[in-house]
Amino acid sequence: MSLLKFLKKIEPDKKSSPFLHTLFDGFFTFAYAPDTVTKGGVHIKDGMDLKRLMVHVVLVLQLCYAFGSLNIGHQHFAALGMYPDFLDAFHLKITYGLIQLIPIFVVAHLVGLGIEFWYAAKKGHAIEEGFLVSGALIPLIMPPDVPLIWLALAVAFAVIIGKEAFGGTGMNIFNVALLSRAFIFFAYPTEMAGDTMISGKEVWVSGLEFDAAQLAEGVKQQVSYYHWWSHGVFDNLFSAFGWRTFGEGGVAVADSFTGATPLGLAKTGGWAAVAEVYTPTQMWWGGLPGSIGESCKPFIIVGAAALVAMKVASWRVMVGMIIGCALTGMLMNGFTAGYEDPSLSYLQIPWYYHFYMGSFFFSMAFMATDPVTAASTNRGKWIYGFFIGAVGLIIRVMNPAYPEGWMLAILFMNVFAPLIDHYVLESNMTKRLKRA
């Protein structure tokens, strides 16, 4: 008996156990192409169904995951003043990163898919695969030490309010992954702003928890962080090979550690302050504190190119966004050229350096191009991308309340995407009516 026959045999009955049937159907269509093809919906391209389309994005994101888990470990040890070279103690860094990243990944999927399965069973339709991509994106845009309960709340908010309330996959107006990030951002502002002195917690660099009493005296001491059941187990393994081990933990944070990101530095002192700490090469390759998967630009560009080549993502949005950001940056440079005022130093950062800092490329490749929430006409895509670039840079540079602008710029333009489409369609109609 073939496996397919066996699977067909154990298929639960849809009427008597709808939830089990939904679950079965979801995983079955993962393994086998279903014999029913797409009848309608938003992504019709060829016979390929939605799940296969979305898997491309998930595959492309694997590079970011690999880099992200190494970078979590690197930032952790760099804060403690150990192994400053990026590939030094590779096994410790990647193990540390995976121990940090896997729970985030699992929680995001458990909560998101759980809600999605529940809704699918309740409404009696097949599982909508929309969460595949959102679930793969959400861990990458979280800070490495995000508490799992925040993550669970944020994902639940984004999936229920942002998607299921709108009618499920393909119907949402706002980008689900960004909604979850925005939820965390607005719900826990002190921690997300990196204010360790108040919270005693550093979310942007993994593995640092400070003791309140010691912090008051100005001592930043890492407090008992390595767990025996995770890091300890690996320590036993590594010492068996004679490799370096994690050790006991409780190491003091290096004096040079600030945890400052390029954008934070730019806000206070312009490009000069950034250049003191980071070189452009370093920012380009992404060995910086920040969200887990956003920092390595070459890997993201490879991913973006692959998505464009497979015609999954729209190059119009990407190019529009680069043009918008570059033009706005040039305008800022042009208007402030020749002024010495320190409050203008951020505006005077050469426009091309804005591509080095922060998460421009990640938002461009994976967030702005989301086919559901972006404008869907070709001309609309140019406009949509252009305004994301422009508004995002304005938020990043001119709004003192937020360190980075792309998340909010994309949400902002999500509001206007249907409007852009509406007017593009109207103008096409009037043009054709005139021709007729």
């Binding site: 009618g167 509001v415 249907p418 509406h422």
Partner: protein, 203 residues
């Protein structure tokens, strides 16, 4: 420059609907199609931009102690502002009825209700409390109206798109509009906190 700053600030940074949640009733009720929303938005821009300077003149030259009566008549402010707004709305109503009867019919009761649209009276009262001068109050009227216009057509376009979505029955209509307004408010928070005056000083 000041004119421009006030315009940007009132249109985007402190949007009447999405930051102060003023003018909600017509915002929610008339945002079903882009066409009617567009018409109502234009009407609000016009009424705001015209009533604001008139109210400024009234407040400055009739009501204050320095005004022509020489006594403090500020207790009359509300009644006079509303009277000005009502007469403007009457004018708009007559124009729309003459020019576009179909828009007049689709707006229905909400056209005369602009009179009690809190965004409009709110605009005039903001103008008084923020002590704008005449040109700033014109900019504030235009900007506030434009922000309101932008918000309502964006919501209308989203709601037109949602007509093809499988929204849970309990949320159809107003429920969805409320959720959307909240999420749009969150998106507009992106520009909140920008202070345009900082940059005009440098120039």
């Amino acid at each position: 420059m000041e004119f421009f700053n006030v315009f940007i600030k009132s249109a985007f940074i402190e949007n009447m609907v999405l930051a102060y949640f003023l003018g909600m009733c017509s915002f929610l009720a008339v945002s079903k199609t882009v066409k009617t929303a567009f018409g109502l938005g234009l009407a609000v821009i016009f009424v705001l931009a015209v009533t604001m300077p008139i109210n400024w003149v009234i407040n400055e030259y009739l009501l204050g102690e320095t005004g022509i009566f020489g006594t403090d008549l500020t207790f009359l402010r509300f009644i006079l502002f509303i009277a000005v707004i009502a007469s403007m709305v009457q004018l708009v109503e007559m124009v729309i009825e003459k020019v576009s009867p179909s828009l007049y019919n689709s707006l229905g009761i909400f056209l005369p209700l602009i009179t009690v649209n809190c965004a409009i009276l709110g605009g005039s009262l903001f103008m008084v409390s923020r002590e704008y001068n005449l040109s700033e109050s014109v900019a504030f009227g235009l900007g506030g109206g434009f922000g309101w216009f932008l918000a309502i057509i964006a919501l209308a376009a989203i709601r037109e798109k949602l007509r093809y979505s499988n929204v849970p029955p309990a949320l159809r209509g107003l429920g969805m509009a409320f959720i959307l307004t909240g999420l749009m408010g969150m998106a507009f928070m992106s520009l909140m906190g920008i202070d345009p005056t900082v940059y005009s000083v440098g120039n």
